[in-house]
Symmetry: C2
Subunit: 180 residues, 2 copies
């Protein structure tokens, strides 16, 4: 299936409210614990999503429109958010994500992308040539990979508590698949 | 970590609003497609969650309190919802899930479970002996395993559209881990 701009932007605009409904005022058991040393908590993931909208997806999209393949994307600093957000309440991050994402979606809508723009190509520093359509699809799928990760981090906290049911709960057997 | 009733019930009470914010009025690309023959769409998963509250978790919890290990749980009909929900709009299922879950959580609260109740034991038809605490933990983790599944089903629709980014998107490499 091809990327469809309406499908992509609708999904992108739903994510902040979904995370808000799931996470706001949830006990810290679910939001501040991680899956072991060197892994992220749910709090960290929300910080990463804010940072990715600010410094990755939209700037790269604009770089493709302006420079095409002639100027590679800046490498994305995947852990930049960790120091910035230390000590903030999760509610503040959820508010920030809602604002940043609303601005991102509005800005993409304001670009009035035409069908021919979707084939425009950029240069990813590690992945090589990628199209604007692939970038938009990856932006939406990036939300989903982190929703997938969030559900896994939360389930991890109950891995012993569920006793024999662990065998039936797929999320308990998800190994993280590298990036998330 | 042990199951904690407040943590469990707070999570259980957040899930319907989270799914509502994510899924209501989302294009059918995301909600009606599945991961291939014999797999579930997001619509199917929401139907399953309603059915599980109605016929599985709460009835089993009450069975433990009333009969202990002397009466095994009824086997859970995992696909019972498929025929019942055919043709309904997703919004109707989301409303139904919100109602059913609110009733479930209220009913559990109304039981005024005491710490000693958590160790009470029931008999699962396939998994053997399980405690009431394990059942509560599994109920919450069951929401998470299906949130994990929902994010994976949705991401699957863009598996080709993301082009080279597929390598970085963990959710695209999740094999489903059996049950979900």
């Amino acid at each position: 299936m091809q990327q469809n701009l309406t499908d992509t932007l609708t999904l992108l605009s739903h994510t902040p409210a979904a995370l808000d409904a799931l996470l706001r005022e949830l006990p810290e058991t679910w939001t501040l614990r991680n899956e072991g040393e060197g892994t992220w908590s749910v709090f960290d993931v929300v910080g990463h999503l804010i940072n990715a909208d600010r410094t990755n997806w939209l700037p790269r999209l604009k770089l493709i429109l302006e420079f095409g393949e002639s100027r590679p994307f800046e490498p994305f600093q995947r852990r930049a958010h960790v120091r910035t957000n230390q000590g903030k309440p999760l509610g503040e991050l959820l508010d920030e994500f809602a604002r940043v994402r609303r601005d991102s979606v509005e800005e993409v809508r304001g670009l009035n992308l035409r069908p021919e723009d979707f084939a425009r190509r950029g240069q990813h520093p590690a992945l090589g040539v990628a199209t604007l359509s692939e970038l938009l699809a990856a932006w939406a799928a990036h939300d989903l990979t982190h929703l997938h990760q969030i559900s896994r981090i939360m389930a991890h906290q109950y891995q012993d508590a569920v006793g024999p049911w662990k065998a039936y709960l797929g999320v308990m057997h998800c190994a993280g698949h590298g990036a998330s």
